[in-house]
């Protein structure tokens, strides 16, 4: 048994070096004579770890002191509900740009707390509506986008400009995949289980002035401002997940930070899309090339009957979890930071071979 090249969309592959370190110290961590899972979040050892995690994340993304960094729980989906609760007055408008499954879900969940408006909807999720076509409200509390649609493979390549309200972006499947300009966002949030760590952890970067909004009646535990005031320890955080995220952040710094990672990811995505586009129609990715995701590459084979064979043979060749999401079918290669270039090359080689045998 060996580890496969794992193309899972999430929970996704973690860097092997990170897993090996976690394995080595799983029973005795950092001289505390216990697992990192078994110590108080309020003890000196864990508090130092949490501070290091925040420090390294700030370093990776060049986050200024104008922003708070939070480590929360409940997944990005929970934030679909907590964002309006925290950032908007009851009945206030919040604008949403819909470019796929997740940004559509954000509208639905927000609707219990806010006038959740759709400023633009791509309709068929293969493109991003042009910025001038967005119908933005004058009175919206914020504008919500999903930076990268994990299922549809549509990614904002940059932050949209000229918005009348703070930009809130779901970065779940793309945070830490390349450098970004945090200052162009009001709030960035991401479920960890793609590029950061185990499922259950949410990383949030929020401009401090937004924490001063009254928001809506809510319990303290659902308040971002309270979490920021308590350094994400209003209650026991997901300590093991924060530990693993910290190892991932350190690994990213060792790799050269996000500039180096971004170049590598651009090469990986570029090679895979080139292989698809160069297959003479055998493979096809329907997304507008200008907004193709660097992280999630959905594609189909011209003959739907070949998908099952592709999946079975790829799996046997050590290329796992390539099945497309049921909403779109076909195939999907998620090529997060932990996927080495050799894994993408192996996939491309397999695709060529499969085409030669079935073309």
């Amino acid at each position: 048994m060996t580890r496969a090249y794992n193309f899972s969309a999430g929970p996704a592959a973690l860097p092997e070096a990170v897993l090996r370190q976690a394995q080595a110290e799983l029973l005795e961590w950092n001289g505390v004579r216990a697992s990192v899972m078994e110590v108080s979040h309020r003890g000196a050892a864990f508090e130092a770890l949490a501070a290091e995690a925040e420090r390294d994340l700030r370093k990776l993304l060049a986050v200024s002191d104008d922003y708070a960094v939070l480590f929360l729980q409940g997944g990005a989906t929970q934030q679909f509900a907590l964002l309006p609760m925290n950032l908007a007055a009851p009945g206030q408008a919040a604008d949403h740009v819909v470019t796929g499954h997740w940004s559509a879900k954000a509208v639905a969940e927000a609707g219990s707390y806010v006038d959740a408006r759709v400023a633009a909807d791509a309709g068929i999720y293969t493109r991003i509506p042009d910025r001038p076509q967005w119908r933005l409200s004058a009175d919206a509390a914020y504008v919500h986008i999903c930076q990268n649609e994990t299922i549809h493979g549509v990614e904002f390549q940059d932050a949209p400009r000229d918005l009348p309200a703070p930009l809130v972006s779901d970065f779940s499947s793309t945070l830490l995949s390349r450098p970004i300009d945090v200052s162009r966002y009001g709030l960035i949030y991401a479920g960890a289980q793609k590029n950061i760590g185990p499922a259950g952890l949410v990383v949030m970067i929020v401009r401090r002035d937004l924490l001063e909004r009254a928001g809506q009646p809510r319990a303290n535990i659902l308040s971002y401002a309270q979490q920021a005031a308590q350094h994400s320890m209003l209650n026991t955080p997901a300590t093991f997940s924060i530990y693993l995220a910290r190892l991932v952040f350190a690994w990213l710094l060792e790799q050269g930070g996000l500039a180096a990672i971004g170049e590598r990811n651009a090469r990986k995505a570029g090679a895979l899309y080139a292989a698809i586009d160069g297959s003479g129609g055998f493979y096809r990715n329907p997304v507008d090339p200008a907004v193709r995701s660097w992280m999630n590459v959905p594609f189909v084979i011209h003959d739907d009957a070949l998908h099952a064979r592709f999946l079975a043979e790829a799996d046997a060749a050590g290329l796992m979890a390539l099945k497309g999401h049921k909403a779109v079918g076909g195939l999907r290669a998620s090529i997060y930071n932990a996927m080495p270039e050799a894994g993408v090359e192996a996939l491309i080689g397999f695709m060529r071979d499969f085409q030669a045998r079935n073309g």
Copy 2:
């Protein structure tokens, strides 16, 4: 370096056998050629694991089909907010019995969603108010208690009787420590980081008829009914935590189930309280003996100046995390399922020796 006897109140010690298994298969789990952290929660392997976790928990606690079992996130504190949101109409009353820090916090968090009434308050948290003194509302949605107060060491030894509304109990630090009659509760919930697994996971056992209550306007992700309908996979659950919980459940079954564990825990607690009570006043636990916790034993030394020396010497002797919570000071020994009887005996031996040297 070796593992210490870990008396942390939480995140707390896990069974060493569980950690060793997790360590062995951290990179390659169950033939999937990846870590359990790295596979989809909707894949066959993880779905089987989640089903086994639920099956074993039902077996341990003899949970009938009248109850749903949920694996949630956000800690027990988040449930302080979600319970009223799910179980009560806006403005409806919910009765609370306050016996310590956590049941008091539950009242405060519920207040945003419900008329959170205090039916009884122990005032000084060393006892449980007698049932006839509780001022229960005729129209309450539910009656909330904290089964075991982790900080104050006060534990309901059984479910209170003759309640006009369903009983909701925070079992965070006592679930799985002894057999209970689930049928006497409407809803049981527990943060995992005491007796179940890593921080971040919440186990909930809820009578299905309570899921049919309309509750209050809320996003789907905050709805227990929606989580039950989706088998706790409305979004990505805390997969690694569920994996570890499943290992803990299997370990408990191997130990002989909750009857055997309960006997062991009764012996551990009995021996420790006897040592405190038999110290001639050198050590003191202030709790009414009828409601002393089996899991968390707070105690003080007659001379406050000795606490720091006790902690330093105990730590050097391999007995860690005995500091009391800052709300009560002094010392606390948390003796959850993973603490072997030998650990309690070692603590008692150290206490006697310390007294002999400082008495």
